[in-house]
Symmetry: C2
C-alpha cells in the first residue's frame, strides 16, 4: 500500500556506501592506517578560508530575519548576478541573472531539469561511464527510458557511432558529465563540437530540440592547465547543472544552480518550466545563507593542486604496477581496467589487501574500477606497494 | 516539447506574491509607513540568539571538510537523536533517531511523504482551509486526486460529516495542518480523537491503512498556554512533516524532517520508501550546517509572545470594527469573514485603503480573507483605524 519502487530504492544499499561502511568496520579491526579506502567522492581538501570568513561576516552584519529569511524561488538577485559574472569573466559568456535558478545542489538541478522537460514516452541518452543516479532519476523521477551509450574505453570521450544510433524521435535530452565521474576524463573541444553537430542535425531530423544537460560539479577541478570548453558556447539548447559541492568542498550544504541560456529555444518558457519543476519537487528556495556564501566565493576553489598531486602519485604508481588506465584530466577519480574480466571479483580480491575500490558496473562500464583520490596524499603513497602486491597476483 | 504543466506552474504567479509586489510598488508612491501589508507569512521576529551562537561555534570548532561535508541521507545520527529527545521531553513520546529523516523543510517533507506512499489512482483528502501548495503537490508531484473537505467556518475544526463522506477505497492519506495556515485554528484533542476514530474505522472498512500526514511547521506557535495534542499519540499511521522555518525564524535555510513512528504499520518499509523518495526527488542530504544548528536549538523558539501580542491587538481591533472572526489560537494568521460575499471584491476595496489582504479562495475557503500578522506591532496598531474606515463602508 506504499510505493513499491520507492521502498525498493530506499532499501537498495548503494554499493559505494556498503564498501565505505565495510572499511569503517575493518578499520576497527586492523587500524585506520592499514585501510586504503578509495570508495567515496567526499572532498578531503577543506573549503577556502573565504567560505568561513563570509559566514562570519554574514552572521555579524546581516539581520537574522533577513539572512535566514525566504528568498525568491529562483534565488536572490545579487546572488544570481554573481553567478553570471563569475562565468562571464572566466568563459567569455554573456549570462544575466535571469538565466539562473539556484538549487540545493547538482542532484536537485538535474531532477528539476528532467521534470521541466520530460513528457510521457521520452528517452534520455547517457554516454557511459556515467554517475549511477542518472538512471534512477530518469526512470523514477520522470518515468522515462534511460538509453546508455557504451563507453569508449581508449580515452573515455564519446563513441559517436554508437551515440548517433541511440538517437531517435523519442530522444528528449542527453546527459553529459565532464570532467567525468568515474573516469576523470574531460571532453575535448573536438568532442563537444562533434556532439553539438550531431545534436543539431538530429534535432532537425526529428523535428524538435534535443537538449543537452551538462552536469558540471567538477568544472573547476581540471589539471595540466587544461581549458574546459564551456558547453553553451557550442550548443544553444544546453542546460548547465552546477553545484559548489566539489569546487568549494561543501557538498553537505547543498548549493548549486540550473542555467538556462537566452540562446535556448523558447528560453523564457523553459525557465518558467524550471521554476514550476522546482516548486513541484518541493524546493522552495536554495538555502539562504549559502546562496550568499556561493555568491562571495563563486570564482574561488579549494586547493585543487592537492588533487593534482594525488593524481600524479596514484597514476604513476598504477602504471608502474602494470595497470592500464586513461590518465584523468579532471575531477578526483581514476578508472583503471580491472586485472580480470569480472571487476567485482577483482574488487573482492583487492579487499583482501584492504584496498577498497568500486566496481564499474553501476557506472555502465564493467571491467573497470573507480578509485576516488580525494583522500590524504599520505594514504595514496602508502597504497602504491599494496597495489603492486595485488597486481603481482595476476602475473 | 517541454512539460506543459511545469511551464504553467512556473508562470502562474502566486496571488500572495502578486499582492506583496503590488505593496512594494505602492510603497514607493505613498511611503512604506502608509502601506498595511498583511500578505506574506515570512517571520519578522528574529531567530533566537542561540542560532547565531551555534553558527559561530561550528565554524570556530569544526573542521570545514566535516562541517560542510556530506551527511548520511537521513541526516547525522546525533542530530536525529536531538530531534527525538526534543519531542520526547515535550510530548511524552518515545521516538528514536531512526524515526527521523531530515529534509530541506516542510515542503520537501510533504513531497517526500507523498512520493513514498502514492500509487496510481490514489486520492488525498484535504480539509479546508488548507495551504494551497497541497493541491499542486498532490496533483503534480504524484499525479493523484486532491479531495477537498469544505471548511467548518464556525470554529475551523473539521466538518466530520463531510469528512467521512470524502473517504473511499481510493483514499491513501489525509493532510492536516494544525496550527492552521490560513485560519490560525488549532485542532482540539476532541478533533484529533474523532479524526483517529474515523480513520481507524475507514482503514478497517477499506482494508488498507489510511495515513494521516500532519504538517506542523507552526507546532510551537500556540497561544493562551494551549497544549497541542501530539498526533502520533492518537493515530499510529501518522507521518509528521516538520520544519524549523517558523519556530526558529529561519525559513530560508530549509531544514525540517519527516517523522515515521515505530507504531506505524510496516514502519521500517515505510521509512525505506521515505529514503527512496528523498533520493528520487533530488534531495541528497539536508543542509549539513543547519542540521547541526537545528539539533542545538530544537527545543528553542523565537519570541512567540510578539506574535501573541499582535494577535490580541488585531483580533480586538477587528471585532470592535464589526468583523466576524474565529479567534486564532496559533500560527500567525487571522482569517476573518469578508464584509461582502465576494472576498476578492472585498480585497480590492481594502486595497484602496492600502490594506493588503489575501482572498480565501486558494485556501479552499472563499468568503474569508487571510491576514498575516508576523509583522511589526506598530503597523498593526496603525492599521486598526483603517480597518474601521473600511468596515464603515459596509454599514
Amino acid at each position: 500500500m506504499i510505493s513499491e519502487s520507492m521502498e525498493a530504492l530506499g532499501k537498495k544499499r548503494s554499493t559505494i556506501r556498503e564498501i565505505f561502511e565495510y572499511g569503517n568496520a575493518r578499520a576497527k579491526v586492523v587500524g585506520r592506517e592499514n585501510i586504503y579506502d578509495f570508495s567515496l567522492g567526499n572532498p578531503n581538501v577543506p573549503a577556502p578560508q573565504a567560505v568561513t570568513d563570509e559566514i562570519n561576516r554574514l552572521v555579524r552584519e546581516e539581520a537574522p530575519e533577513v539572512l535566514h529569511g525566504y528568498t525568491s524561488a529562483p534565488g536572490l538577485d545579487y546572488v544570481r548576478e554573481a553567478m553570471a559574472e563569475s562565468l562571464n569573466s572566466r568563459f567569455g559568456t554573456h549570462f544575466v541573472k535571469d538565466n539562473f535558478y539556484m538549487t540545493v545542489g547538482a542532484a536537485a538541478s538535474i531532477c528539476i531539469t528532467l521534470k521541466a522537460i520530460a513528457c510521457p514516452g521520452d528517452e534520455f541518452v547517457v554516454p557511459a561511464p556515467f554517475f549511477p543516479e542518472y538512471r534512477c532519476w530518469i526512470e523514477h523521477t520522470v518515468n522515462c527510458k534511460c538509453v546508455v551509450v557504451p563507453a569508449s574505453p581508449a580515452d573515455f570521450q564519446i563513441d559517436f557511432d554508437a551515440f548517433e544510433k541511440s538517437l531517435n524521435t523519442h530522444t528528449k535530452a542527453v546527459i553529459i558529465n565532464s570532467p567525468n565521474n568515474p573516469s576523470g576524463a574531460v571532453y575535448s573541444e573536438d568532442t563537444v563540437k562533434k556532439l553539438a553537430t550531431i545534436l543539431t542535425d538530429a534535432s532537425r531530423k526529428f523535428g524538435h530540440p534535443i537538449y543537452l544537460i551538462s552536469d558540471e560539479p567538477y568544472r573547476e577541478i581540471v589539471y595540466d592547465g587544461l581549458k574546459l570548453p564551456f558547453v553553451t558556447k557550442y550548443y544553444n539548447n544546453t542546460f548547465v547543472c552546477y553545484s559548489f559541492s566539489k569546487s568549494l568542498s561543501m557538498p553537505g550544504e547543498r548549493i548549486g544552480y540550473v542555467l538556462v541560456p537566452d540562446e535556448m529555444e523558447d528560453s523564457k518558457d523553459v525557465f518558467a518550466a524550471v521554476c514550476g519543476a522546482g516548486r513541484i519537487l518541493g524546493f522552495v528556495n536554495a538555502p539562504s545563507m549559502f546562496q550568499r556564501v556561493a555568491a562571495r566565493c563563486a570564482t574561488l576553489t579549494s586547493d585543487i593542486s592537492i588533487y593534482e598531486r594525488n593524481r600524479d602519485i596514484l597514476y604513476n604508481g598504477l602504471i608502474n604496477a602494470g595497470f592500464s588506465c586513461v590518465k584523468p584530466r579532471g575531477a578526483f577519480y581514476m578508472f583503471p581496467r580491472a586485472l580480470e574480466a569480472d571487476e567485482k571479483a577483482f574488487c573482492e580480491r583487492a579487499k583482501k589487501y584492504d584496498l577498497l575500490l568500486v566496481p564499474g558496473g553501476d557506472f555502465g562500464c564493467p571491467g573497470h574500477v573507480r578509485i576516488s583520490y580525494c583522500v590524504k596524499t599520505d594514504m595514496i603513497e602508502r597504497s602504491i606497494p599494496v597495489f603492486e602486491k595485488l597486481a603481482k597476483e595476476y602475473r
